[in-house]
Symmetry: C2
Subunit: 302 residues, 2 copies
Amino acid sequence: MAVVERDVYGAVEGGGTKFVCLVGTSPDDIVDEITIPTTTPTETIGAVIEFLRRPRPGVRLVSVGVATFGPIDLDPRSETYGCVLKTTKPEWSGARILGPLARRLGVPIAWDTDVNGAVLGEARWGAAQGLDPVLYLTIGTGIGGGALVNGAPIHGLIHPEMGHLPVPIREDDTFPGICSFHGRCLEGMASGPALAARCGRPVPEIPADDPVWDLAAWYLAHGISGLVLTLSPRRVILGGGVMRQATLLPRIRRMLVEVLNGYLEAPELGERIDEYLVPSALGQKAGLYGAIVLAERARGAG
Amino acid sequence: MAVVERDVYGAVEGGGTKFVCLVGTSPDDIVDEITIPTTTPTETIGAVIEFLRRPRPGVRLVSVGVATFGPIDLDPRSETYGCVLKTTKPEWSGARILGPLARRLGVPIAWDTDVNGAVLGEARWGAAQGLDPVLYLTIGTGIGGGALVNGAPIHGLIHPEMGHLPVPIREDDTFPGICSFHGRCLEGMASGPALAARCGRPVPEIPADDPVWDLAAWYLAHGISGLVLTLSPRRVILGGGVMRQATLLPRIRRMLVEVLNGYLEAPELGERIDEYLVPSALGQKAGLYGAIVLAERARGAG
């Protein structure tokens, strides 16, 4: 007697400390989920493959989506396609991700950056449903952005690295910046480690009335204004650990309206700024759910 | 006896001083061309319609593309779709462009900004053939950018306005900027009028060894680095009157490599920068030829 199987996707979000994987078709239909610590590429990717290959009665894995920390090589014409590029994370520079997964799983696989995954997740099930173009920006240990434009994330020469935007320096700000490449870029001035270095204490311990939040809002608003002027997103979603400080978002909103100064005539950049610059709806799951969307797309292309 | 007619497109590039129109199918197949001075919307658009309606034996107009100065309303769901938005150009704020053309011509019409037109033209027949994503930036009376991403220009909340990017101020630069909205944004610091104001003479009269060119390169390289980090273009094309000063492009190239400081590991941003940051191949015709591409697309969608 034939067993009727339904089709499911594998979704993987690869981060610096853990890889989260699920088997399912949507946030409301998760068959299985696992969290794997990020150790060596061989061990971690091996555990991901073991999880995805596990026999599960009644379901058939048809494709896999992977959203991972970068930089990664997304160019199918490149010799290092499917690999992590040079990264500060020990052992992961040059690590092959896509190849082993494809060989051992035998299903179509799509991959993208964690932030491109996050914007796909938010546009499908989160804070930007149906919107395009749309921008997701995470402000945490680093600053990174993913944009959905004309139906797909942006892949190009490499992939966007929005955290390193040049920003004007506030006149009274003498902080030298912490970016090892650019010093006083957006990430160098307003990422979690930059704010911690400014205050001499970890971000969660910085009180809500510390003047550093106005400084952070100043840089983030300038960075976001540049992204808005470039991508014309219909909404901007903010995630990442630094945004957990509730005082920050309203400050960024006010500052963004001030920075743009009425140049772009849209109510979203004035009285409706609260609907335009919004917190992530999926939180830490945005990239993982986005990987489901990647898997769907891989299946279509496969 | 039936006359055999072949299909041709109408292409219109609308600028602040003139509207250039052609009938044809490509830069190598132009049936007719006209230049119309920009006066009032009624008079100018009337002359465009008259030109496009003119009977021409052997050809049949099947669609029209319009690339025009902005800001313009590109959102088909908007009440002011097809109109120019608020502009400093007398009489053109709110001018209806698309409606009269569609009514009088009876063919599908597509429209876009002049810079989005230019990037379409360059990607089809110019300096970026077949590349995507790709960026076109014009540095002239104003600074504006158009990007082709995932097969189409970016339209969103409004459309990109890349000239107004926030930029870091060079430490020794006391120039207050001339942008009436943002003061010291990219356009405020490095557009033609900004350079002229810095030097007290028109741009064409500024000698090649004037230190202002290093300043201009500094701001343009910072602006371009932000665009590269956001859009990850496979090539960046520079056009506009200010770029006619031949000393400027090599300075911007050197400065861009310096600003990015090796962060994006691609030969295009190092030893191959001369192939990456390139002058417009179509010059003043980029937008007009791009309007042919818009017309092709309008026909497909019509």
